[in-house]
Amino acid sequence: MNGLLRSAVVIVGLSLAAAMVIALLQLPSAAVHLPALVAENLAQSGVEHPVTAVLLNFRGWDTLLEVAVLLLALLTLLTLGGGKAPAPAAAVDPLLQGLARRMLPLIVLTAGYLLWAGAHRPGGAFQAGAVLAAGAVFLQLAGLLPAWTAPRRWLRLGLVLGFLVFLAVAAALLGQGALLRYPPALAGGLILLIEAGLTLSLGLILAGLFLFLTGRDA
């Protein structure tokens, strides 16, 4: 049976690839031109950088659900956790620990910059969160941060804070009339507030994805 499946998948794969290549080569030009629309509305979006404008304002709905997806993935990992004792700390390398202690402030600074830069050049909450998470992983590998087991109240609050802020803003705006319709004057401020909350929570969530995993049956 396995040989049959293997050859079937290969045949289907090749024919699909060929068809797609042909399709792409004879593709007509697109009927709708969104870049023009984005440029037009960039002024009211509250940020200068088009990608951040799309991410946080024009398609802010996608981003809200996307954070929910990330939070959900973490929840599911927690359900798998037996909450057993964390693995014993690896042999500590003094050079690594020294480097980690000196790198930490730099990591936090970079994350802050990325968060702020997001408004007018590539950057934003996700990139800042990723950097923070990387910092946490680095500390754990260096033995300065124990692996996490079942999160207690404060950690849980940290994990969901960003998402709750985003949700609160969305609900408040919906109360006024339309979901996620930032009043032009407040758009920039609201986006920054949401991005700051997200940076903290995404940092904790992404770090959690790694630290909760290592916490068990290494």
Binding site: L24, L27, P35
Partner: protein, 101 residues
Amino acid sequence: MSTGLLYALAGVLLFVLGAAGAVLLAHLMRKVLAFNVMGSGAFLVLVGLAQREDVIDPVPQAMVLTGIVVAVAATALALGLARAFHARTGRTGLTEEARRD
């Protein structure tokens, strides 16, 4: 044959390779990696096609950002499940003959 279209074609090949790998490979780790290759292929096509007439379109880039985050979440979940499965059964694959490797 603009560069955007070239990336899109590469994306197509990556997609098909990743999909075939995800179906055929038995080892869970390889399946998750293949799934990520597949995702990257789709993202390449998404951005590549949008720039095939050398006009930078921010919307697909935002979509790709969202897609990457979703892919990270899915990969983390897959790895978590694979570790839990390995911890309970000692096997690295779901199918029977996966017991060997």
